[in-house]
Symmetry: C2
Subunit: 451 residues, 2 copies
């Protein structure tokens, strides 16, 4: 992938230097918008808008959509009002809305001023939907058919209107109140006899999502039913748009990145790693580090309280980091498994007892094995009495069981409280488990060793 | 989603009890295969195969594909050879291959015996490709056109062969040696004048992946170019199959789950959380816990060596968990960011110096802020001398810088060594950073406090 665009970049640079603009234009017309966007983004800032202007109108809009937001901003600054209008008119509604959401306020005003009244109305309509809702990522351009149209009518309808629609692979049969009756694929229409009606050809009981539904739900629905576009209906059950599968891929990627970031205690960012500035990266990370540092001091308080007991038996003291690490790792295994299952819609809050029972058995098996391995290691390699080794190993078992219990319940409780389960991952679990495992440790030390 | 199938389950149960099989069959024909699969999987084992038999042939195959592998296994056991053959004949090639890969060896023999010679040959062809390669997930059914066909010819060709193809939305123009010349969408064909040739209508320079490429590369390519299907070519550049976008969604989900699991030190599993048995879950988690437990003992060794110094100044001792936690968290922030960027193809090994420089600046800012906050806390809330607070805070700064350095370089080095970067996440980084931060801590304690 990389090499392809790198070779092309060379060619671009040469053609530009030699001012062979006609050839450059011809070359660009054979390329994919995503490739042109990559190449232009790496060009010197002065040349880039000039080369962009060489693109024919439709390719210009498609290329523009593929660019990172900082490059888009640069380009818009260089556009005349007419150029800006041309690009916006060619864009699909969902891309136009994305653009508005990415740009600073003064640019938004300029963009909206250039959009025609109808586009502006539709953009404002979509902007009303909550971030990350199905409504906010849909596009309003889809092929609508009526139940009494024949296959031949439908194909004619697609011929006359299809050029402005984002996809024609699936068409939607609506009644006169815009209620969705069913879906019919272009494949069905082409394979059908010309005089069959849409009503008889369509798949009834169309699956749809509501504008207010989470975008993640929408993507899971598409993935479950293998759709390439998913209808979106409003509160009155009228069809208002579709989500296309290329956006579904982007959403899925974005949601996974978000979950992964939160699990590592980072505020998620849309931007690629190398395009995020140092200050922004710092801003996404520092609040969590501060919060976790403060909660880490609790472990310090607990450890200080039991310090005197520790000093008496050196091996107890040396085992503290291992016990804390194992607890943290066990807990994060459970929490991350549950968080992922929640994200994929495999689990709900009502499964909490099944989850706890499962994790209890797993943690017991894990704890037993770890305790046994540890007992062997201690007796063979360290100078310990059997009772001291027992103290450490019983603590190990209890720590693992408690860590997995905390790890599996917290994300489910967060979900129930409408918080983000992903925030309940490793770092938080670790802090809680650290404190709990230290307390258990010293209880056992007191009970078994009478320290 | 859940509720929909729950209501239907009730209806299924009633109709079955009352032996109203004709109605049940009619009902099922209005449902989506994914829904039928969900409902049947939750049915009592005795009834399930009987209800499955009510499905018409094509719907039966589609439903079968949507089931979890344990349910598939159960069904196949109940099938007669004729029934098994009917299902396999109706399946797309990629689904047939998935089935073979999921089933135990004795079933595989039975399945292959029922497949016709041509299918068997194609299955074996695909099975040769490495797991997770583009070749292993492709399907061999696609619409091939020749350059000299007109749009009308092409539509006729699709009408006569399209019914057996997994998608007709994008068709592929091949020369007589099966080299891919370009792609033409059904939309273009429908909107074109009937006598235009495929050669003039097609998008040349088709983007394709090689059978040996990673499936992740294939998905990223599809996402980048907004394709709904991606051509796969062999080493001689002949087109052998396509990857469809519904599979791309599955692959993306699977890859994200794999990365997330590895980051939390879990061996990845394909199965949903609640469908993975206790023993299997244990098996996926215990090796990592054992490994990390052993490496955790190193921290214990280090801490014991410096124990005497610690005992002299209680606040130094109490700050150990906080320093270790903050180091671990800082390191995992960096490592997870880099691992995700590697997965999304945003970073390569050659970016290592840019990454280190960026992380150095971020870590310096983070470390400074954490050290300052900590200094304030110590001076206000604890009984410490300024020099003691200084020791702790300088260690904090160094720990954060080192943690982020280790966190960002290890995944890149793993990538370079063809290992999986995701394994280099939090748990490993934590262990390394723990040991390093303790050593630094005691060095500073010796230097500044002369303990």
């Amino acid at each position: 992938m990389k090499e392809r665009t790198e070779i092309l970049e060379e060619t671009f640079r040469k053609l530009t230097e030699e001012k062979k603009y006609a050839s450059l234009r011809d070359l660009m017309q054979t390329l994919y918008p995503a490739d042109i966007a990559t190449i232009l983004s790496d060009m010197p800032e002065k040349l880039m808008p000039a080369i962009f202007r060489l693109l024919p109108k439709d390719l210009a809009a498609e290329t523009f959509v593929e660019m990172e937001s900082d490059v888009k901003e640069e380009l818009i600054k260089s556009f005349s009002d007419t150029e800006l209008k041309a690009v916006i008119d060619e864009m699909y509604m969902d891309d136009a809305v994305d653009l508005i959401e990415e740009m600073p306020a003064n640019m938004v005003r300029r963009i909206l001023a250039q959009a025609d009244a109808d586009t502006r109305k539709q953009i404002n309509e979509i902007l009303k939907y909550k971030d990350d809702s199905a409504g906010s990522v849909m596009t309003t351009e889809f092929v609508a058919l009526t139940p009494r149209m024949t296959a031949a009518d439908a194909i004619n309808e697609i011929r006359s209107t299809g050029v402005d629609k984002e996809t024609i692979n699936t068409c939607y049969v609506l009644d006169d109140k815009y209620h969705l009756l069913g879906t019919v694929t272009i494949r069905t229409l082409i394979l059908a006899r010309p005089n069959e009606t849409c009503e008889s050809l369509m798949t009834p009981n169309a699956i749809s999502v509501n504008t207010m539904d989470d975008q993640e739900t929408a993507v899971q629905t598409m993935s479950k039913y293998n759709f390439t576009s998913l209808p979106v209906v409003d509160a009155e059950n009228r069809m208002v748009g579709i989500i296309t599968v290329d956006d579904a891929l982007d959403i899925m990627e974005e949601e996974a990145t978000e979950d992964i970031s939160k699990m590592a205690a980072i505020t998620p960012s849309d931007k690629p790693y190398l395009r995020t500035g140092v200050f922004e990266t710092w801003k996404n990370r520092i609040p969590w580090l501060l919060l976790l540092m403060v909660s880490g001091t609790f472990t310090g308080i607990v450890i200080t309280r039991f310090e005197d007991a520790l000093k008496l038996v050196p091996v107890l003291f040396a085992s503290v980091p291992m016990l804390m690490d194992t607890g943290g790792n066990s807990g994060s295994q459970a929490s991350v498994s549950v968080i992922r299952a929640l994200s994929l819609g495999e689990l709900e809050f009502k499964d909490i007892f099944r989850v706890i029972w499962k994790e209890f058995r797993v943690s017991f098996l894990c704890g037993l094995m770890l305790a046994a391995a540890n007992y062997g290691r201690l007796m063979l390699l360290e100078k310990v009495t059997p009772l001291q080794a027992l103290t450490i190993c019983v603590t190990m078992l209890c720590t693992v069981v408690i860590a997995k219990f905390v790890g599996c319940t917290l994300p489910l409780l967060a979900k129930k409280a409408n918080l983000d389960p992903a925030v309940m991952a490793s770092p938080f679990i670790t802090t809680i488990v650290d404190v709990l495992s230290l307390i258990i440790y010293f209880q056992f030390a007191t009970m078994i060793l009478k320290v």
